[in-house]
Symmetry: C2
Subunit: 340 residues, 2 copies
DNA sequence: ACTGGCACTCGCTACAGTCGAGTGCCAGAC
DNA sequence: GTCTGGCACTCGACTGTAGCGAGTGCCAGT
């Protein structure tokens, strides 16, 4: 099953033309638009081979060819170079940076930027708590038996949680609790805290012990076990581009999938360091998204990774361009976070 | 232009049938399904009058009738009673209440509940800062010249903002700032704070004045002027129900509108006390939403209102049912907030 | 190994014809 | 005056037919 250079060139041409025009591409049109140096008949022979190998297919007997998921995969892996960003795109990314006032702002701007640049649906995960360090823990009395715990992470994330205490807690006790909790936990990774939190209870004075027990169990539960991930989403309107041809006519399954945080996390959350991941159509584990492709990568200050971001669109998407933009945006966001 | 009781009954029947079947309804089908006590011919005469008055229209010459926006308006105002909730719906609402751990949780559960119950797009505004009182202000040093301000409102909202100070601030100064700010601001409505914040600067010691000036300007800017509203959205997949007949075939404008926070706020944010607002089609100010209807209301603890919530769907929606559910959910959320 | 030629396939569009739901109108009954 | 049955009419939806054309596979020839 030799796929010589020309056959690969034919596949690349098919992908590029189909992505651009959204119409099945025939042998004649191909030789006209690309300098392949051979006749349509030859191209047809190559196409027959490519089809046999499962890289392209014919929607109807008398139509042109369309890439299959497998064809896109080969294209992404071996036939495309990452497209350099245009100056305008570069400027757009830089401009969005200035003036972000807090983490929420950064994330929202990022997700909108990404949606606008790629014209796809954009997804940005907030910096994961599991990968953040505790910067400060604040306890605010709401009533005599209620405390609000506010955790500030070094990534800028702020999480709060209401805690119902077992009994009344005096203001001085709150101060003590606050001091102890901060002394022990500030600077540590949340994923490493379970033993530390346990120690908190053991080491506290008898007076504080009941309160500390409640507090620590809430800390564990909220911040570690049920690890609160947050996601921002933008550009769903882009799903309607390309008429109803993409996504086989129904946006339903896509929109449903996008409402599930779990699904989104699965898409972009498994950040392998410095890799850009591309999931094409069927490769996706989620049934509802089998007509879609996802380009995602991790981001974070310096070379560490604290979260993921990416875009989702039809399998018929501009992979080189989207990969370039996802990477560029991730890098810029990382730099921005590093400044804090 | 007399619209006697029977003509109104005909209009009601048309609306109900059309909402149920999504198909233009003819005179014959009407008399079969409703006990109107007259013949199709009579109904046709009534229909002719209703059409002349602009309450219904014919998509094609030989088709049945469809309500116009004006027809829906009349239906909502005079022909429908609020539908009592089914026990199952009541149970669903109650069940969602239990186990909400913080404001974010409450809002997310609420918006999903509303989307599920009404099978429409649901929108919930977080308690508005303008209508909240300050419960506590926390200052956390991030570096010698950077402070994170965390504001906790009585509605449970927590907002943070990074502040770049004019110069290094000693830990003791931070303590002083914190004490003063809390003494002056806790308990006051944010919309009333501008004079108070101003006074903060005037009354502070010379040593603290520069820091306090920066801090107070950030407080004003972030929390009052650029009043940070938050919105949660769910159920966009419901837009795809009813095929592509609703929304004249394109979800595009709707999805675009739903991405704009400003638009959403306009839809549900203008909470007039205890009123349920219904905007039908053209009545909507936003062009993109002229094919949609919105049912919204305010919510809050007790009889006060701190935010708005509502649903958006095709003009062809079950108004009585949706009005009932929006009201019920708003009431339950209000009770939940009152417990804090 | 490539090319030109040729017969074939089949989706798309246009057009004509039929069907039927629904209408408006009118004369007549209550 | 109000309602009803009857009737002619309209027009969208559906069906069937025919022609077009893009695109293919195959084969003989270079």
């Amino acid at each position: 099953m030799g796929l010589d250079d020309r056959k690969l060139a034919v596949l690349r041409a098919i992908v590029e033309d189909y992505v651009a025009t959204q119409e099945p591409v025939g042998s004649k049109a191909l030789v006209e638009r690309h300098q392949l140096g051979v006749s349509p008949a030859t191209v047809r022979n190559d196409m027959a081979v490519l089809e046999e190998e499962g890289y392209i297919r014919q929607p109807h007997t008398s139509a042109g060819r369309v890439p299959t998921d497998r064809g896109y995969r080969l294209f992404v892996d071996r036939l495309s170079r990452v497209k350099p960003l245009s100056p305008a795109e570069r400027r757009a990314i830089e401009r969005f940076l200035v003036g972000a006032v807090d983490l929420d702002d950064v994330v929202h701007r990022t997700v909108r930027l990404l949606a606008q640049l790629t014209r796809q649906v954009a997804v940005v995960q907030y910096p994961s708590l599991a990968r953040s360090k505790v910067r400060h823990l604040e306890l605010v009395p709401i009533s005599t038996t209620r405390l609000m715990v506010v955790m500030i992470a070094d990534t800028g994330r702020v999480e709060q949680r209401l805690v119902e205490m077992p009994g009344p807690v005096a203001p001085d006790d709150v101060t003590d609790l606050r001091r102890v909790v901060n002394e022990k936990l500030v600077g540590s990774r949340l994923s490493d805290t379970p033993p530390l939190v346990q120690a908190l209870v053991d080491e506290s004075t008898p007076q504080l012990r009941p309160a500390m027990a409640t507090l620590s169990s809430v800390l564990l539960e909220t911040l570690v076990e049920r690890h609160e991930e947050r996601i921002a989403l933008a550009g769903t309107a882009n799903l309607t581009r390309g008429g109803l041809l993409d996504f086989q006519g129904s946006l339903r399954p896509i929109l449903e999938a996008l409402e599930e945080e779990v699904v989104l996390l699965k898409l972009i959350g498994e950040a392998e360091p410095s890799t850009t991941r591309v999931l094409i159509g069927d490769e996706n584990e989620i049934d509802n998204l089998r007509a879609a492709s996802v380009v995602s990568t991790g981001y974070g200050p310096g070379s560490t990774i604290v979260g993921g971001l990416g875009v989702l669109g039809p399998t018929r998407m501009d992979y080189p361009g989207n990969i370039a933009m996802v990477r560029a945006v991730a890098r810029y966001v990382g730099e921005l976070l590093a400044q804090n």
